[in-house]
């Protein structure tokens, strides 16, 4: 084929890809996308076509960069012995940030442990994110949970447990409450591995039966620790599972922030207006090991990881903004400086807050009056602590 023919063929394919994405086509075999793996538009479209404006497009990129840098700093905290664990968000920014930006104050989020670095988009302060990683007094959870868990009723952000998939089942009730009140929707998150748990089935089934206002988002980063997606389900895609539950499933390029924004905005609105649930499968990749306790060299190749770093969602979004004439090197540098300063300041505040009060442990078990036996145990601990210091892990050592 001549170069001109090749090019025109590419243009035709691009137009087809664009149309599929704009039509929000369910149950495709290939992920829907607006930008190619390098970040260039698959075909000509305007921001308006995809429900964006310039300010929001830039905002999404800036928040993705902030998310990335928070996450990188968390790894530093682990190396410095200031945090004892990290479960990374890196590589998932293009999924979470645009999605969270489509939500309103009425909406609820049922997250899992991959989201924390991105939750500033939902109104959690950056210092609170760091405080949660370290377990200091500024942590909204008072240091009760391992790093990588965040929740706050003020932000309609469910404080999830660590059991994989557990938030899926809870989302049934959240969505049902919203349905009863007649406003808002719930976005429920989980990983590809989490789809194997019964919780996922329960949510999908109830969502279909009650026509719940929920957008189930499966973050398919292709592994559950070491186990590849192909060992979780023999299904061709995860999105296709929605068909059996009676609603639509969408396979999206989770590293394309534009399609994540476009699709979630539409599907959230559909849920809010009583037209029922949807399933999103966001195809992405975890660029780090599963957690600071994992060694991913045991189960995946360096070439594979390298490929995904080269097509990092951050790079793709930046390229897209540049193509749109919304971004350049100067802006990038200014942003980087701003983010650096913001993180430094937030980190200091989080760190300085110190250890939460141990007394409160006894009062947060039950609402209302603390039962007598816990008061007795509190007294026993107080007596014990006259004979030994309470270990403060924030001061290092054990």
């Amino acid at each position: 084929m001549s170069p001109r023919k090749t090019r025109s063929r590419k243009v035709a394919v691009g137009k087809e890809v664009l149309k599929k994405a704009l039509d929000l086509t369910p149950f495709t075999d290939e992920p829907l996308r607006f930008i190619d793996e390098d970040g260039h538009p698959v075909a000509d479209f305007s921001l308006e076509d995809v429900g964006l404006d310039a300010a929001m497009a830039v905002r999404i990129y800036e928040d993705m960069v902030l998310t990335r840098e928070i996450d990188r700093m968390a790894w530093v905290l682990v190396r410095q012995g200031k945090a004892f664990f990290h479960i990374s968000t890196t590589g998932h920014e293009g999924t979470f940030v645009p999605q969270l930006h489509t939500l309103t104050e009425e909406d609820w989020v049922a997250p899992f442990y991959r989201l924390p670095a991105s939750l500033h988009v939902r109104g959690i302060k950056v210092e609170e994110i760091f405080a949660q990683y370290m377990g200091t007094r500024l942590d909204p959870l008072k240091g009760r949970q391992m790093p990588g868990h965040l929740g706050h009723p003020d932000h309609k952000l469910f404080a999830h447990g660590s059991g994989v998939g557990s938030q899926f089942a809870v989302a049934i009730g959240i969505a049902r409450a919203l349905q009863y009140r007649g406003k808002g929707m719930c976005i429920a998150y989980g990983g590809d591995g989490a789809t194997s748990e019964g919780h996922f089935h329960s949510l999908m089934n109830f969502a279909g039966v009650y026509n719940l206002p929920v957008v189930v988002t499966v973050v398919n980063n292709q592994y559950a620790i070491s186990v590849p997606r192909s060992r979780q389900t023999a299904s061709k895609t995860i999105a296709i599972k929605a068909m059996a539950y009676g609603f639509d499933g969408f396979l999206l390029d989770g590293n394309d922030p534009i399609v994540m924004y476009y699709a979630t905005k539409k599907l959230a609105e559909k849920a809010r207006s009583g037209e029922g649930p949807s399933l999103i499968e966001a195809l992405t990749y975890r660029l780090d090991p599963h957690s600071s306790a994992d060694d991913d060299k045991r189960y995946r190749t360096e070439e594979e990881v390298k490929y995904w770093w080269e097509h990092d969602t951050l790079k793709r979004m930046r390229t897209f903004l540049e193509d749109m004439g919304l971004w350049d090197q100067d802006r990038e540098e200014a942003l980087r400086e701003r983010v650096k300063a913001q993180i430094e300041e937030a980190l200091n505040r989080a760190e300085e807050a110190g250890l939460p009060d141990w007394e409160e442990l006894f009062h947060d078990v039950y609402a209302g009056e603390t039962p007598w036996h816990l008061l007795e145990e509190k007294h026993l601990l107080a007596e014990e602590l006259k004979e030994r210091p309470l270990h403060n892990p924030l001061k290092g050592g054990h």
Partner: protein
Amino acid sequence: MPTMTLAQALRNALDIALERDDRVMIFGEDVGKRGGVFTITEGLQEKYGEMRVFDTPLDELGILGMGVGLAAAGMRPVAEIQFIDYIWPGFDALYSEAAKLRFRSGGRFAVPLVVRSPYGGRVKGGLYHSQSPETLFVHTAGLKVVIPSNPYDAKGLLLAAIADDNPVVFLEHKRMYFMSKGEVPEGYYEEPIGKAKVVREGSDVTLIAYGMMVLDSLEAAKTLEKEGISVEVIDLRSLMPFDGEAILNSVAKTGHLVTVHEAPRTLGFAAEVAAFVAERAIEYLDGPIVRVTGWDMPFPYILEDAYMPNPVRIVRGVKKALNLL
């Protein structure tokens, strides 16, 4: 005799079990290629193939349900639950199926299933990587419950659990995997399930513990020795069945009883020990029965040191039992 860590001793036991009995199968999340998140099954898939050592989907109900089915069909399954804190989606298979199949089938079916899982605190693991829910399994008639405190016992007890025709919940303290070291014979041997071990002889007070708390108890015993108090430490090793005779023999000698565990206090295993001794040997007791435990709360993260029983708490408990506090 080679020296092994707890992790190595467990791996060694699994290796021997796979080698000597072709009905043994090992499965769970990440146990195949990854060798388990604590590397307990490292190298076993390579050696025995994917039909015998394999990864499952992320589904505890599937894992334990499969375990019951394999056992019913004549296999000797060894299921790994990645952390005992995550067994609950599969509890139905354990509580309603594994524990009851023998009884409900008039003894016609056996469930020789072993469920291995890490438990316990002091690893900065927070709420869902630190708990000690052993009581719930003990309270489930039909399940045996084993908790070793050292590599030697761990190997012998795991081999005994695999050979046992009952479902056995086998809890391994994750803090001890690489910290606990000891001499372990190379070949096959079993340690009896249901038998305790006196790990330190003493005459003033009986200290009952299991798992990592055996180590804390021994440390407390040393401190107390300096104060002239002689402590007998008993490592229970099995909670169901438990070695009542060993407990009674010791209490008859010392007249004082303290039980230690990481699990919350109310209805923890110490309550059973207290009731058992109160029913049968109250005439031997010269002081209050004391429980040294975690508190009646979910396990905290950054303040785990406030929760965890420790030698100071144990010393205080012993003094209370001796009416010295």
